[in-house]
């Protein structure tokens, strides 16, 4: 009985629960709790043993649990425009209401953010800091208008570190620990390696998984990728995928006729409909840059900083397109389903160009649908279903042409 096998999914849920429990415990003990943006270099925070929560992750959960509209309604009542980031509206609504039904998160004592995802994040966290009258700490990771990260960007990121540490020490009352930082970097690397390993099976032919499952594990990569237990959870996931791959099993229910690359942040409020529609059309999700980005590995501080600089929306359009094209080829995708996510201007502003290049250079058909990462009003089940059907018809025809 004592040797009951733990599945990666169970471990995932346990660790995610623990993440929020730890934050609440810290809050009860009077320790400062920070709110942090998801692509902030967590290595600094983990090395200082800070207790933090990730509002983007929290907004994702509320969106998937169909509670986002309550929060969005509150934010819009306060005057937040409905074309602002859905995660921000959910979070600012949550902040105003002081809580929610499905997943409580402690209120912040300081906020920490990076703008490598988007500049809206800075405005959003600036508002949280203003409304709560708490420290606002920004680690600036400027947009790369060149293909590679320039020397001036790297020097700027490096130069900010002493100030960042000083601000964190002041806000959270803990001291910098260089030895622990090195240890956290090593753990984070292991985590990134295991994530890459899991991603290779996610993209494998045949894929041993229903690709939507990767979204669940991504939450852990956001919240705790510098922790030993996360390494173990992701290693377990990769082991399970490896085993299924070799036995020819898959968690995809149905006949996987087409392999789909999904572009854009997940449409969390309608994820079930997204999945079921694809499944009913024999489509399995086998590639997305959205999850791929968490497979971060590096050998030293400079490489770590570079890895945070080239996250999805912080690269120039050529770099962004190449990343997608390489993924589509590597994962042998038959088509790409592209989310025109009403929330995300940083992504949408070059989405049409990316769609054209994916189509012409990866030589796969594409379909674009409207939706939102949090706001359920922006999505139409009918439109999504018809776009998926249309994509399937093109993929089917191409397959037929290829067979002739």
């Amino acid at each position: 009985m004592g040797n009951e096998t733990i599945r990666a999914k169970d471990l995932l849920n346990r660790l995610l629960d623990r993440h929020y429990q730890e934050a609440w415990t810290a809050k009860r003990q009077g320790k400062p709790v920070g709110w942090v943006s998801s692509n902030f270099p967590q290595e600094f925070l983990e090395a200082m043993d800070l207790t933090v929560c990730y509002p983007e992750n929290h907004s994702t959960s509320l969106s998937a649990k169909h509670e986002s509209m309550d929060m969005i309604g509150e934010a819009e009542r306060l005057g937040y425009n409905n074309d602002l980031c859905g995660y921000a509206r959910v979070n600012l609504g949550f902040l105003s209401k002081g809580g929610c039904e499905s997943l409580q998160m402690p209120m912040p004592d300081y906020v920490v953010c990076s703008n490598n995802i988007c500049n809206q994040l800075v405005k959003w966290f600036e508002n949280v800091a203003n409304l709560c009258n708490i420290p606002f700490i920004v680690f600036d990771i400027p947009f790369n208008h060149e293909y590679e990260v320039s020397r001036s960007r790297l020097e700027y990121m490096r130069a900010q570190i002493p100030e960042l540490i000083a601000q964190l020490e002041k806000a959270a009352g803990t001291k910098w620990n260089e030895a622990r930082f090195q240890e956290v970097m090593a753990i984070s690397n292991e985590c990134g390696e295991q994530w890459q390993r899991a991603s290779r099976y996610f993209e494998a032919v045949p894929s041993p998984m229903n690709g939507f499952e990767m979204f669940n594990y991504m939450a852990l990569m956001v919240c705790a990728r510098g922790r030993r237990e996360t390494v173990e959870a992701i290693r377990l996931l990769a082991d399970e995928l490896e085993e299924r791959y070799h036995t020819g099993e898959t968690t995809f229910r149905g006949e996987p006729r087409f392999r789909i690359m999904m572009e854009g942040i997940a449409c969390w409020p309608h994820l079930k409909h997204n999945y079921q529609t694809l499944k009913n059309n024999g489509c399995n999700l086998t590639g997305t840059v959205y999850t791929e980005t968490w497979g971060r590995t590096y050998k030293n501080l400079d490489e770590m900083l570079r890895s945070y600089s080239v996250v999805l929306d912080n690269t120039n359009v050529d770099h962004a397109c190449d990343r997608r094209i390489q993924l589509a080829r590597r994962a042998c995708c038959d088509g790409a389903l592209i989310h025109m996510n009403r929330s995300c201007k940083a992504w949408d502003g070059i989405l049409y160009e990316m769609e054209r290049r994916i189509r012409s250079q990866a030589k796969i058909p594409t379909a674009v649908y409207d939706g939102d990462q949090s706001d359920p009003r922006c999505y139409s089940e009918g439109q999504y279903a018809s776009r998926v059907q249309g994509l399937c018809e093109v993929m089917e025809n191409r397959r037929g042409e290829g067979a002739q």
């Binding site: 306060l78 320039s150 160009e353």
Partner: protein
Amino acid sequence: MSRLDCILEAISNDAKHPTTAIRRELERTRKKAVGCMLEFCPEELIYAAGMLPVGLWGGNVELSLVKRYFPAFFCAPVQQNLELALQGAFDGLLTAVIVPILCDTLKSASQNWRIAVPQIPMIPVTYPQNRKSRSGQAFLRCELEDALKKLEQINRCKVSEQDVTNAILLYNRYRQTMREFAERAAHHTDIITPAVRHSVFQAGFYRDKADYLRTVQELTAQLELFPQTKGRHPIALTGIALDVPRVLEAMEQNGLSVAADTLAQEYGQAAFPVPDGDDGLTRLAAWWGQVRCSSLAADPRKERVEYMIRLVREGRAQGVIVSAPSFCDPEEYDEPIFHSAFQAAGIPHLYLELNDAPSAEQAAARVQGFAEMLP
């Protein structure tokens, strides 16, 4: 026609017909023009490189070709600029364009321009968030240095430190001139109506500043010859731009005059001189650290709110209009903070999203409603 009328008519013509004004200036100065996409461009660098900086603030154009690049829900002036470029309106007019990367839309604008308008080179400048810190300013200095090198290549010239210093000197004089004009204009609201005031700022985007500052100095001096008047409803403007003729006209029709503004298109860029420092590029980088009261310059204290409230409390304005293009997320994040602060302070406040002709008519009606709330 009086001298004042002549000056105002010339300014108004330039503001209404930017292409004509720019072509005339290019012919007169024998310079090439470099476009500045919206706000906070390092115009001094263009000037130091012997070229003419010209403002690109969109225009009255139907969006068609740009739909290949931007979804509908993006900032109107950015889309209009790209539409005009795609239609060829800037061919033969602009030698290059600088895109200051201050928000997410300007990031994609830089990328889309580079792809869609290859005949007009695009020079991006990414602005730091930690703009007051030494590291942020050192980074911006590198961005400006890169931009200057590209400008030198484009104009086949070598820019000296003295050239940059001279350009800063000129622009600081220009900013001071515009501040003096704005101060004086608030006391002559019968002559300097909202539309006229806007045109004085706007025309500056299409003129050689060395020449235009003399025009504005003369205008300010002319105003001093007239008795002072105080408008029925002096108000303060803030936001990005309020440049829609129908709305400016509605302001005048409803007795509104502009007491002060922090609009990025108007006073916002004139408010702060480039500070002293070791060298020109360092000084220009430090300038960004000094900008205040802008949604684009990170500020957790939201000092702009306090400033606008102070304007009203000091009796200079009766209310505040915030004006921005539709889908301007930096302004949209500040708006709820404004809303609750103004409500708590009992200050009338109107938020205008200006986009195109239909939204202008609606905005004009809202201006009328706003005027009725004023004391």
